[in-house]
């Protein structure tokens, strides 16, 4: 009997000890000397200098709102958010991409902003319409656009000069790209003409669209990977590897293609404007618009800032999001050349931030761009794309087999 009482006492004592811990935790996360502290979650460490400058400018205006940054590498970003959202521990303000916004909005873990924007007379007309559309779920806007990105054909001028090939321009098509890749490939020097990346944005999506195919049908019920246009596009993509014009999939996982490219081992590759801070360091590199297939197409995607539903400082978070979406903040991003700011009219400043690169190529692409598809299970479909297409890229299975398997899995995900 007494044993039980002693046990009880120890348990109670232990619990008091534990609750003591949690109390002090809560105190440290809250307000300090009248200042509200909000956290800002994002993934790209290349943008840290720009973001820090923006926070500094923000604090000149609102000295009482402290902003703490929280960087998670992209590879783990959405996994961490998922867990944080389940536990109600999301950062107050965070980056969102088109693939996940529907899921997060329907899961009610991020706040609709339309009402607040209306109340504060905050105009959403300052951003490209396609981006506002991307972040509108059932009539409510959930994110304020931050930037957008299209894809360009990056190339190494030195390798072109040595091989006597003229630089890519807007007249290039699939045939020309292949020809040039053949001329530029130099096995002895270890130079590949082109990197056939296994990525959707700025990779097979763009080729599929250029070939007249589609990724997700208009009724959001099926995917188009097994359509003849898509199979042809995927085959074109992998043919570079088969013909020895591109590093193999295994080689590109050993050393990232972007690293091979910036060290002069690859002559041409598709990549986005987010690589500008990296590629501008090598004076041999420049960029042109992506070649055309049956028609011109390039994928466009943009990030936005959203507010989590679990925030304790809704007002402050909204003020910060407004500031992040302001012209002032866009100009900081433009100046540092990190990303194409979404705020209309600030793109020219971005273009001029790195005058030795033909950044106009990315802005030109926006004209005929196709937004990345976004449904509730986009993240899951992306995972299947990686799982399945990887095997086609490493030539374990044929393109037809991969397309069939991927279509089956993705359609199942869509029907959930």
């Amino acid at each position: 009997m007494k044993k039980w009482i002693i046990m009880l006492v120890t348990v109670v004592l232990g619990l008091i000890g534990l609750s003591g811990c949690s109390d002090s935790d809560a105190a440290s996360g809250g307000e300090k000397d009248g200042k509200a502290e909000i956290t800002y979650g994002f993934w790209d460490k290349k943008q840290v200098p720009a973001i820090e400058e923006i926070i500094k400018l923000f604090n000149e205006k609102y000295p009482d709102i402290k902003v703490k940054t929280e960087i998670t590498p992209y590879g783990q970003y959405f996994q961490k958010l998922e867990t944080a959202a389940t536990g109600g521990a999301l950062p107050d303000v965070l980056w969102m991409n088109g693939a996940h916004v529907v899921q997060y909005a329907e899961g009610k873990v991020i706040l609709p902003l339309s009402e607040m924007a209306e109340k504060d007379d905050y105009s959403l007309d300052n951003y490209p319409e396609s981006l506002i559309d991307l972040y509108t779920v059932v009539g409510e806007v959930y994110g304020i656009p931050k930037d957008y990105d299209t894809t360009g054909l990056w190339y190494n001028k030195k390798i072109f000069d040595e091989a006597g090939v003229s630089y890519p321009d807007e007249t290039w098509d699939w045939k020309k790209l292949k020809e040039a890749a053949k001329q530029l490939t130099d096995k002895e020097k270890g130079i590949w003409g082109y990197a056939a990346l296994m990525g959707n944005q700025g990779g097979y999506y763009d080729f599929i669209w250029q070939n007249g195919g589609y990724i997700i049908s208009e009724d959001n019920k099926s995917v188009g990977f097994d359509q003849p246009e898509a199979i042809e596009a995927l085959e074109y993509n992998v043919s570079f590897i088969k013909e020895g014009l591109s590093p193999t999939q295994a080689q590109m996982t050993e050393t990232a293609a972007s690293e091979l490219f910036s060290s002069g081992k690859i002559a041409m590759m598709f990549d986005g404007p987010w690589m500008v801070p990296e590629y501008k360091k090598n004076p041999d590199l420049d960029v042109a618009v992506v070649p055309q297939g049956k028609k011109r197409a390039v994928s466009i995607h943009g990030l936005s800032n959203v507010i989590s539903s679990n925030t304790k400082h809704k007002e402050e978070a909204w003020k910060f999001v407004q500031f992040l979406g302001s012209k002032e903040a866009a100009e900081v991003f433009a100046k540092t050349g990190t990303v194409i700011p979404a705020f209309n009219g600030t793109q020219d400043a971005w273009k001029e931030s790195v005058p030795n690169l033909n950044l106009q190529a990315f802005i030109d692409g926006a004209e005929y761009s196709v937004p990345l598809p976004s449904v509730e299970n986009t993240g899951e479909i992306w995972q299947y794309e990686t799982d399945v297409l990887k095997k086609a890229w490493s030539e374990e299975i044929s393109i037809e087999e991969a397309a069939e398997e991927l279509t089956k899995k993705a359609n199942e995900a869509l029907s959930k």
Partner: protein, 315 residues
């Protein structure tokens, strides 16, 4: 004559006093003992036992986004039976265990026996062998990944000096798992070595002296004295390494990229669990995988417990 009963009376009275004292003493000992272990016990209940119970429950559910779930009965377990990837993961994990556990134990015993001799600078060697244990697994994985890099890594550079074109250590599906196994063995030696060292030092010197007098050579001494007397420690280490090897995750996660061609041939059961729980957000199925893993570990450990009677000597 009178003194005798008196004495026994006193004695028995004393005894009663002592025993009641012992009882109260015991009681307060219990109190302090429970108080002292309370934080650990609470931690164990809250962070281990309760999650196991919850995990078992969740293995019968299917999860939607952000923590909603519904009861689906045995569906997840039915899926387990048909999952070819799971079978592959079991195969990968088994290969990993078959290589890391015996080779790891064998090498650590050798190192421990060598470092138990009176050699110069043995504490320096002991520290060197122990260093990988105190290094973060993530850091170890990163460094080895660079060493293994096919284009710029040190191994292939050294091989190229003698005219051999090295393989793609971590991207070739046929090799990647063995590359990981090598790292696992390397990083595990130090920890097991320390346990074996303490075991070796627990073997009484007199056995060795007797063997010397009888004229036994070092090899006979090792097999007839060291190994049998070390067997309880070997048993302990093999149980712990086996459980650890079943749960391998960090090395694979860090060294094999998500879009790597070698992922299928390297992913372990826990990696698959992670993939379902946190990437595909299929937490119910992930919970079922965890239950299966727990069951397999329990069965294998039980088999080891039975088998130990045949080879472990407690003197």
């Amino acid at each position: 004559m009178k003194e005798v009963p008196l004495q026994t009376e006193v004695k028995s009275a004393n005894r009663i006093k002592v025993s009641s004292l012992a009882k109260t003493r015991k009681r307060s000992d219990y109190f302090w003992a429970y108080l002292m272990i309370a934080p650990t016990m609470l931690g164990l209940f809250i962070f281990y036992l309760w999650p196991i119970v919850q995990n078992f429950y969740f293995s019968f559910t299917e999860w939607g986004a952000f923590g909603q779930y519904e009861w689906t009965g045995l569906d997840n377990y039915k899926r387990l039976l048909e999952d070819a990837t799971l079978l592959q993961a079991f195969k990968n994990t088994s290969i990993y265990i078959i290589f890391t556990v015996p080779i790891g134990i064998f090498l650590s015993i050798i190192v421990a026996v060598l470092l138990n001799q009176n050699i110069k600078g043995k504490s320096i060697y002991r520290t060197l062998y122990f260093l990988p244990v105190i290094t973060m697994p993530a850091a170890i994985a990163m460094v080895w990944k660079w060493l293994y890099n096919a284009d710029y890594g040190m191994f292939n550079y050294l091989l190229s000096l003698v005219g051999i074109e090295g393989p793609q250590w971590v991207s070739d599906p046929n090799i990647a798992l063995y590359s990981i196994i090598a790292v696992a063995i390397w990083s595990g030696i130090g920890y097991n070595m320390v346990i074996f060292l303490s075991g070796l030092q627990g073997i009484p010197k007199m056995y060795y002296e007797a063997a010397e007098i009888d004229g036994a050579g070092p090899v006979t001494v090792f097999f007839k004295i060291t190994l049998p007397l070390l067997s309880p420690v070997i048993f302990f280490v093999s149980i712990m390494s086996l459980i650890g090897a079943f749960q391998v995750f960090d090395l694979i996660f860090m060294m094999i990229g998500k879009s790597s061609t070698a992922l299928e041939s390297t992913q372990s059961i826990v990696y698959l669990f992670y993939q379902h729980a946190f990437v595909l957000n299929d937490k119910g199925y992930a919970a079922a995988i965890a239950v299966l893993l727990l069951a397999v570990i329990l069965i294998i450990t039980a088999i080891q417990m039975v088998l130990q009677k045949k080879w472990v000597h407690y003197d």
